[in-house]
Assembly symmetry: C2
Homo-oligomer: 284 residues x 2
C-alpha cells in the first residue's frame, strides 16, 4: 500500500549511480508536485522554477518538452498523489568541476498523498520557531536545490506531532520561511510575506497566492519581516504545493492566532484556481 | 583503465536507492582518503572528523569498527589510489524529518590517483580568487558534508587548466579556503591558516600540518585572515588529503609568491609522517 514508484531517466526503477552529482554534492534541484485529477497541479510554475534553477546553477541543457511530457504522463497514472521530481546535474565530472559534457539525470517518484488526520486546512496548525538559522547565500536563494541540511537540522529540533511546522530565521533574525513551507501574515487587511533574495525557497504556492491576492483585490507585499511582525499579525498562514494553505493558530513563544476571513478566502481561491495555470510557458 | 569500483553497505555495486537522504537532501558526510602502500593514509583523523560530523548532524549510530575494517580492507586492494567514502543518513524518513529508525548508508568508491602532469608539488600552482561567497553557517562549519553547491559554483568560475585552485571568501571578505583545499600563509616565520568556525571545511591535511608545525618548532596560528594577509605572505601553500601540500606561486590579482623553505620543510615532514597516525582512536 505504501509503495513508491520511481523512474530514472524515464525507465522504471529506483536506483541511481553513485557518481550522480546530486548524491556526491547535492548538485541538483527538485520539485514536489501535487497530482490532482490525474494532472500535475501548477505544472507551469513548477517548470518555470526548475528552469530558472537550472539556469542559475549553469546546468547542461534540459529537454523541457520531454520533462513536461514525463510529468504529465506520470501524473496521469493516478487521481491524487505526490510527484517528486529531481534533476541532478549528471554523473561524473572532475571533482567539483562539472564539465560541459554532462547529461542531466531525471528522477521521478510517485508517493501517496500524506494523510493528515487533524484536518490542518480546516483546524489550523501549531508551530514553533527553530533555532537553526538559514545562512545568507544570495547565489542559491529562492531555489529548491538539493542542499537541504539546514532544513533537516531545523526539522530535527522537535518530535512533538502536534507541532506541524517550525519557522526559520536568518542570522539577523529576519523571518524567512517554514522548514517546508512559506509564510504569510495578514496585517491591516494586507498580505505580507518575507523577501527571499538572501535565503529561503520561493515556493510555487507562494507565487500562486501572490497572484490570487492580486486578482481578489488584496494588497500583497514582499518585504523583510521579523517575529514582531508575526506577533502583530491578525492572521497567519503557511503554504506549500502539497498542503495548499494551512492556517496557523499557534506559534510557541509568540502567541495564538484566529483563523480569519482572508485566510479562508485565500484557501477557497487557491483550491478553485488549482488547475488553471499549466500553460505552455516553455514554448514561448 | 579509468574504472571506479564501488561498494554500497559492503556489497560490490555502484547503485543507491533514490530514497537515500544523501541524494534527497545532501544529508550525509564524506571523506576523500589517499591510499598509499595499500593503507588508508591518516585514517584515524578521517574517522575522527567523520564521527564528529555524525554527532553534529545527529546521525543514527554508526558501527565505527566496521567502517574502519571496511576502509582498511578496500585500501588493501591497491598500492596507490583514492578512496572516497560517503555516509548517508539512510533511506526514507518523513520529508526533512529523519526519524530515529534510519540505518546509515555506507558508500565506498576506489578511484585511480589523479595524474598531475605539471608536478604541482614541485613547481607550485597558479590560483585565483572566486566571487562565489561561502555562507556563514556555524552549525555546519568545519564538516565535510554533502551540501557542496557553493564549491560547485565556485569551481565553475574558471576553465583555465593552468589555474589549479580558487580561493573562497566569506561575505565579510575573510579568506576561508580553496574550493578543494585549505590554505596556509607563511608570515614572519609563522604559519597562519583561516579560522573555520563560521564556514569552510576543516581538512585532515590541515590538521596534520598544524600538528607537524608544532613538532618542527614553528608557531602555527588559526586566525581570521584577509586578502591583505595573503598578499603580505612570504610563502603560501594549499593542502588536501590527495594532493598533500602544493606551493602557491601565483594568485591572480594578488601577486606572485616564491616557493620557500618552510613550505618545503612542511612538504617533507608531511610525506614522512603520512602513515603514523592510524591509531585506534575509536576504541578509547
Amino acid at each position: 500500500m505504501n509503495e513508491v514508484r520511481c523512474w530514472v531517466n524515464g525507465e522504471p526503477g529506483a536506483r541511481v549511480n553513485v557518481a550522480e552529482r546530486a548524491l556526491q554534492y547535492g548538485d541538483g534541484l527538485f520539485e514536489t508536485i501535487r497530482v490532482r485529477y490525474a494532472r500535475p497541479e501548477h505544472l507551469g510554475r513548477h517548470l518555470q522554477r526548475l528552469s530558472a534553477g537550472c539556469e542559475r546553477l549553469k546546468f547542461p541543457p534540459v529537454d523541457w518538452a520531454l520533462v513536461r511530457q514525463e510529468l504529465e504522463e506520470l501524473a496521469g497514472r493516478q487521481e491524487d498523489a505526490v510527484l517528486k521530481y529531481i534533476l541532478g546535474r549528471g554523473e561524473g565530472g572532475r571533482g567539483y568541476q562539472a564539465g560541459s559534457e554532462l547529461k542531466v539525470t531525471r528522477i521521478a517518484c510517485i508517493h501517496r498523498l500524506p494523510h493528515w488526520p487533524s484536518n490542518p486546512d480546516q483546524n489550523g496548525v501549531r508551530t514553533r520557531i527553530c533555532t537553526t538559522p538559514l545562512a545568507i547565500q544570495p547565489l542559491l536563494a529562492g531555489l529548491k536545490h538539493l542542499n537541504r541540511l539546514e532544513q533537516v537540522m531545523a526539522r530535527s529540533e522537535w518530535d512533538d506531532q502536534d507541532v506541524a511546522e517550525g519557522f526559520m530565521l536568518d542570522p539577523d533574525r529576519q523571518l524567512i520561511e517554514g522548514t517546508m513551507s512559506n509564510v504569510f501574515i495578514v496585517a491591516g487587511g494586507e498580505l505580507l510575506t518575507p523577501e527571499l533574495s538572501q535565503c529561503g525557497v520561493a515556493g510555487v504556492m507562494r507565487s500562486v497566492i501572490l497572484d490570487l491576492a492580486n486578482t481578489l483585490g488584496f494588497k500583497a507585499r514582499i518585504q523583510p519581516l521579523t517575529l514582531d511582525d508575526l506577533k502583530a499579525g491578525q492572521e497567519v498562514f503557511i503554504c506549500n504545493s502539497l498542503a495548499g494553505i494551512w492556517p496557523v493558530v499557534h506559534v510557541a513563544g509568540i502567541g495564538e492566532f484566529g483563523i480569519g476571513r482572508i485566510t479562508r478566502q485565500m484557501q477557497m481561491a487557491a483550491q478553485a484556481g488549482a488547475n488553471e495555470d499549466s500553460g505552455n510557458w516553455y514554448k514561448t
